[in-house]
Structure formats: C-alpha cells, structure tokens
C-alpha cells in the first residue's frame, strides 16, 4: 500500500501547486481514474443538461430507467410557455429488449408520443446500453421523421463514449441538425444569439432585458427557454455571444462555419464581467446609439450594485474560498467575482477544464493556490484543511462534505432557484456568501467543536460539589 493515502499516484499530474516562478502545468481532459471517486458525470449527462431546456421538444431517453429517473426535472430552467421538457420520457428497456434489441420498442415509443402529443421535435438520447447492443438510433430516427413528418433527432450520448464534455458536443450536434437554412434578411437591428445559458431562475431573461434596453435583439437563447422554431431560425443572426464556454463554444464554431456567424465570449457573473460583457456586445454592434445606451445602463447599474456590495464587503474581508465547479470558464469567472468582493481563491478545480483555461487560472490566482482537475472528496478534504479555506463553491455532492468540514458553502449548480448572473445576480451572490460564511452556526463549531463538553469543566464541578 502506498504511503501517501491522499493523492493517488495516477492523480498526481492532475494536482498543481501554483508556483509563479516555475512554469508548471496540469494534466487535464483525460479519462477519470478508476476508483478515485471522481465528481464527474457521463456523456449522457452532458447532453441532457445542454439540450433539456428546449421547452417544447420531447426528450426521450432510450435505455433502462435509471438515466431517465435521475435526470427528471431536477434543474431550475424556466420556460415562458410550454413545459414538455420538464417530463422525462424513457423506453424503460427490460431484459428481453437488451437481448433482442430495443429498436422496436423505440419505434413504438415514438409512435405513442406522436399520437398523444404531436410534438415538432423529439430528441432521442442514446444511453450506455443501447450503444453496446447496437440499436440503430439514426436509422429509427430517420424512418420515424419521414413517417410522422416531424424531426426525430438522435443524440449520440452513450455514457461510456467519453465524458461529460463529449455530451455537450453531442447536444451541439443535435441543435445543429435542428437549424434550418439562412434566410435573406433585411433586418436592420443588431440581432444576436445568446449561447450557453440555461435560464436557471430566469437568468436568460435578466440578460435579455439588459440587451433589449440597449437596443440589441436576441434571436434565440440556447438553450434556456428556447423553442424548436427559434432554434431552427438560429442561423439568421449577426452574432453569437457565448456564456457557458465549455458547452457551447463548439456550437459557436460550427455555426461560424455553417452560417458565417462570428462569435464572442462573454460572462455575466459578477459586476465587472457583466459590465464588460454588455460593453463588448455594444461595441460589436458598431452602432453608436447602442453604445451610448450601454454606457448609460452600465453607469447606472454598476454604481447601484457596488453601493450594495460595499455594505457586505466589510464583513467578508480576509475570507478564503475553494472553488470546485464543472467548467473552466465558470471557475475563471468565479475567481474574478470573488476577487471583486475581496475574497481570494485558495483552491480552484474543475471537472472538465481545458489546458488554456488552467493556464488562465494559474495566471489569475496567487502563488500557493492549489489547482485541481477532476478532483475527489479525499483531495478536497485534504486541501481544504491545508489551505484553511472558509467557503467551498460546488454542487449538490460537495455540499455535505463542506458542512461536515465546518465550512460555508455556495451552491453554484443547475438546481439552484435564485439567479446568480447579471447585476441582480451579483447582489444575490454576495448576499449568499455573507449568509453562509457569517452564519452564527460556525461560532459554535469554532468555539467548542462537535464534542461539546470539555471533561475538565465537569471535573471542576465535581470537585466543587465535594
């Protein structure tokens, strides 16, 4: 047995100590180490999170029940109209389907959906098993598309065929195959697509409102509160702006090739990023009026927001944060956002970060920061203790770990029910940080720990009673 029980030999290259003088790098974009208790999910998961917010499509999971059960309506994506997407459809494959093949059941399932719902689009997700038994999903989809005159689109998301970000790609392919031809347009307004926002707690609406105020029209948000019609029409925009880089940069690149639509990265997390992104979009429009309005909006909102943030910042000075999130771009955004409110990041990790993103993280953070790719609870526990972090940012699985370690926690996942983007999000964010890190509960833990009564005091009491 190894003498080092914290970091497995196979994991050492995925852990980096930021030493500014040495140009050290981190390993990433590799398969998870077996048995290491990775926090990652699978290809199917990636596809499902990206595509699921398409509100009027039917999302049909071809496989045994688990995949459908665990992903049913657990995310906070909102719709302004239809809610087909909140249902979880599964072919619920049984043993005999595995032996004799599941194509017949899939066909029958599509027929039933068409009969009862007559949707415009059905996304058919492949799961691990159907990838192995070799069901011809593309064949079935083609056949059924023709038969019912609707779009049945295969999502190549067999769980084992890569990791979560391959699922993003599969979702992007599905979205691309839904998009129609570019129309000749005499549109004079500046029209953009907003990629990589899933309308959690209305976040896409918040951003759309900013854009509307400065005179920028949003054609479609992908995929938050989007409809199949809107996605079909996505090729008719002048620009793509990309918020969630991990999931949607690929789509933006593909759309650039297919429709000649350029794209630009934005971030609406934190005051600085939000203001910069609005300014960036205004500049892209090349329209003076838009630029003027953007300036006015930024001036108004930044001052107003900073005034609120200032009240909280005094209470947060000197706190340290550990970040463990899905994508590299989100981690970068968070480092900046925490810095804005006076909190330094001592641990930064991601599930699917890329080389260049880790380089950026290294540049952004201080010497001594721990950088982690595809980490696990053992490493998190070790480094949290070592760095003395006060706050952990993560998802549902990380929350109990933080609490058991006596740490404040920020939910930055797809299940939350309050917006964290834009100016309103920046306020929500600092309020949440303050609420958790300055909660009275930590006083009891810091002063007495979990065990409570010190033997010494009891002993003294006994002595007195004698």
């Amino acid at each position: 047995m190894s003498k080092d029980p914290i970091i497995l030999e196979d994991r050492k290259s995925f852990v980096l100590l930021n030493e500014k003088k040495q140009n050290n790098t981190i390993d990433c974009e590799k398969d998870s180490v077996s048995g290491a208790v990775s926090q990652r999910a699978c290809v199917y998961c990636g596809a499902r999170v990206v595509l699921n917010p398409v509100t009027d499509a039917v999302h049909l999971i071809h496989g045994p029940i688990g995949c459908s059960s665990y992903t049913w309506d657990i995310r906070g994506s909102l719709s302004s109209d239809e809610e087909n997407y909140r249902n979880s459809y599964s072919t619920d494959l049984q043993e005999e389907n595995i032996i004799f093949g599941g194509e017949k059941k899939l066909e029958a399932a599509i027929d039933e959906i068409v009969e009862t719902l007559s949707p415009k689009v059905i996304f058919v997700y492949a799961t691990c098993v159907v990838g192995v038994i070799g069901d011809d999903l593309v064949g079935v989809s083609k056949k059924k598309s023709k038969e019912h005159n609707i779009k049945v689109i295969t999502v190549q998301s067999s769980g084992f065929a890569g990791n979560k970000k391959d699922g993003y790609k599969a979702a992007c392919h599905a979205l691309l195959s839904l998009m129609g031809e570019k129309k000749k347009s005499d549109e004079k307004d500046f029209v953009i697509n907003y990629l990589g926002d899933f309308n959690l707690a209305g976040e896409a609406w918040i951003i759309k409102k900013y854009l509307k105020e400065i005179g920028v029209k949003t054609n479609v948000v992908m995929t938050g509160d989007s409809t199949c019609d809107q996605i079909e029409n996505a090729g008719n925009s002048q620009y793509n702006i990309v918020q969630c880089a991990g999931s949607m940069t690929y789509l933006a690149k593909q759309m650039q090739m297919k429709y000649n639509i350029p794209f630009e990265q934005v971030s609406f997390f934190g005051v600085t990023d939000t203001a910069n992104s609005i300014e960036k979009i205004a500049l892209l429009s090349g329209d003076e009026a838009i630029m003027e309005k953007a300036k006015a909006l930024i001036a108004r909102e930044v001052d107003k927001t900073n005034a609120i943030l200032d009240q909280f910042m005094k209470r947060l000075r000197g706190k340290k944060v550990a970040i463990y999130v899905g994508g590299g771009f989100k981690a970068i955004s968070l480092i900046k956002q925490f810095r804005d409110i006076g909190i330094e990041s001592v641990i930064v990790g991601t599930q699917t970060g890329k080389k260049e993103e880790y380089k950026k993280i290294r540049d952004l953070t201080d010497e001594g920061t721990i950088i982690l790719d595809d980490t696990n609870p053992s490493e998190l526990e070790y480094f949290i203790k070592q760095t003395g972090a006060d706050i952990l940012v993560g998802g549902v699985k990380e929350r109990p770990l933080a609490y058991k370690l006596g740490l404040a926690f920020i939910d930055h996942n797809h299940e939350r029910k309050h917006p964290l983007c834009g100016f309103v999000g920046a306020v929500n964010f600092i309020k949440e940080v303050d609420l958790t890190v300055n909660s009275p509960v930590w006083t009891f833990i810091n002063e007495q720990g979990g065990e409570g009564y010190e033997q010494k005091e009891l002993y003294q009491l006994e002595r007195q009673s004698l």
Partner: protein, 458 residues
Amino acid sequence: MSKRNYTNLNVNPCKMCMPMGGSLAFKGIEKSMIIIHGSQGCSTYIRRHIAAHYNEPVDIASSSLTEEGTVYGGSSNLKKGLKNLIRLYQPSVIGVLTTCLAETIGEDIQGIIREFILEEDLEDKVHIIPVSTPGYQATQYEGYYYALRQMVENLAEEVAHNEYINIVVSDVTCEDIRELKRIASFFSDKIIILPDISDTLDAPYTSEYSKLLSGGTKINKIKLMGGARATVEIGALIKDAYSPGKYLEETYGVPLYKISVPIGLEYVDEFIKALSQITHKTIPKELELERGRMLDGMIDSHKYNGEGVGAIFGSPELNLAISSLCIENGLTPKLVMTGSKSKKLKEIIEEKAKRFHMETIVLEDSDFSTLQPMVKQCGINILIGSSDGKFVKEKVKVPLIRVGFPIHDQIGAQRKLNVGYKGSLRLLDEMTNTLMDLKHDDYRDRMYDDYYTPLLKA
C-alpha cells in the same frame, strides 16, 4: 387497472435502478465502500441522489469504464479501481455493483474479484462482495434486498446457535432504525440490524471528519446471522430470490418472520408480537402505553382523516405500510402507485381496504404520467410519497407529505420518524394537520363564496 398510459414508454418514472438500491444497502455496513462497475455517470447520479436526501457526504467509486473497457472488457479497470479505493479509504467491505453496461458486455465480476484478491493477497483483509444489479432487470427496491442477500451469502458462516435476532430492515429512515432498536431492546439486547444506516447516513458533527464512518452493521455480526434465533425481515412483499431472510432460513434453518414495515397499528403490533414470540417475553407496559397513546391520537383525528382521499406512491413496502396506516384511520388510499412490479401489493391493500368499505386503485409497474390525471379524477386531496411527487403537487395543486426516497426538496428526511406507535402517530398527525389546513386555510373565503354571494344575488 394496473398498466401505465403508455405501453412502450415510462413517463416521469416512479422507480430507480438496481445499483441505487444496492448502494443504499451497503451504506449501512461498517467501514464499507462501494464501487459501481460501469461508466462514470451512474455513480455520480446515485451519489447526488443519496447526498441530497441524507445531507451527508456520499463517496461511491466508479470503475469509470470508457470505450476501450467496453470493447475489451473492464477487468483491468475494475481491478485498478478496487486498488485505488482501498488505498484512499481502507474499507473492511467493498460492494461491487454492476451497471447495465457491465452486465451487457458480460463482465464476470465474481471471477475478476477472485483474481484480484489472489493477486493483491487480500484474503481476510477486505471482504469484496459482488452484486449483480443490471438496471434493466428490476428496480432499486429489488436491488436493495438483493445486495443484502449477497452480503449474507458472502459473509454469514456456519456458526453455533446464538441468542441474536436478525432484523432486516426496509427503506426506512435513520430515525426509524433508532426507534426499531429501542423497541427491540425491550425484548433482547442481542439484535443485529441489517443494514444500519442510523449513524452512517445521519452522522453527528464532530471536530474530526472521517470519510469512512464506523457505525453501521458490523461484519462479525453478519457472520453470526446464520446461527440466530430468528430473522425478522421487514419486507412483506419482496420475492424469495432477493430475500436475505429466505436465504438464512434455507441455508441455516433460521426461522423467518416476514413482516410489513411497522407503520400503522396492525403492522406495529405484528412487529412487536414477532419479537415477543421469538423471545418468549411479554410485551412491556411501556409499549402498551405507547399503543394506547396512538389509539387516543387516532380517535382525536379520525374525523379529519375521514375526509382524506390520498394518493400514495413509492416503493412497494412503504406503499403497503402507509396505505395500512391510512385505512386504519379512515383516510382512503384511493390511488396507490409503484414503479416496481408487485402483484402481492395489490392483493393485500385491496383486501384490507375492502374490510373497511374503501375502494382503492393499485397501480404497479406504473409512472407519474399515469397517476397525474387520476389524481384529479379521483378527488385526491393529499399526496403521500417521495419528492418525485412534487411535479404532481405543483401541477394538480394537492399537498404532498414526504415519505420514502428520495426527498431532495426538503431537509430532514433522515430524521423523520415513521415507524413504531410513536412514528405512526407522528406521520398520522402530519397528515391530519395537512388535511386540517386544507379545511381551514380558505374557510372564510369559501363560506363567503358558497353562501353569502348567492344571498346577494337572490
């Protein structure tokens, strides 16, 4: 009626997969770890669900099968995974649960484990228990019992007769297990609870965090199960092939008492009578008083409950017990729905309901898309089941009492007491109060609309 709306589709499932059940079972064993043999997502989804329900860190490893492992076999992946998790956690027991993927590519996990133990010289150092849990074979319900059965098959030994009583528990809460222990302690201080999640999934805060908790059923206790006085298996409906109690009876001749989850007067009585019978001890005064208090509480609330028309959903065992509690108090369990297959569930509930002139519709192998329209049609005014019912709650606007697994939209699932006379009465009070709120909350407006508005128009 027992079929779903769609015949080739499951829409909004009321079931999970076998490895989920297996994981929950292993979580109740001392110093145990789990590795799920398959692709990464399965372990992550299962961890997410268990962590959200219990608010506890839940470490479950994955063999992280990729394309290569899928094509050429996952043996080396699984061995490496076992090696790594032993290094990180030093567990005494490891449950190896298969997924759809591993089963379909035909992984021989028993063989792989045998090889691994030899190669690493681990005999007697760690118990590695293979459990075949393909997601397409059954549900989390069967997966749970089957994992327990495999533990017993792998660990129980030919031992001399002893004084222990085995209690195999169903999907109850941590607080429930504490209550079962308390009740059992009136009869014997030699009780083996399998599995015991009361400490492992409801651990107190301590200054030192330990990622592998002691607490949970001890291995040396499982070894003794074959020589026990009797097994009380809380699992009235589970098939023999999945039943650990049945295995102990068949292999070691341990008398088996198969009972329902002790919720509701009749089933709590049944549990206590079984203990009394096994130990030849009379039922203590304390429990008699608790029974009396429960009856008193039932009388207090019977009229409110009589107006209740419930829809109950979740795993078969809890469905049965909760339906029974409802029926005993005049609350009609009009709809009972499970995603698992269980003919027996239907038989028992219908018979019991008939005794009190109630009609019920039992849907087995069903889903929420079937239940949802029926909730309206049947005039349901209370939903009882897991958080998965929140979709129906939101759409049909009927209150939901959360019982079972998963409960991920509320806090305190592990602390809810539902079993025993105390727990039954607590749960009943929760139902009664919900029904009372329904009656009282809009009382003034309703009466105004019903009687004053017509007066104005007259």
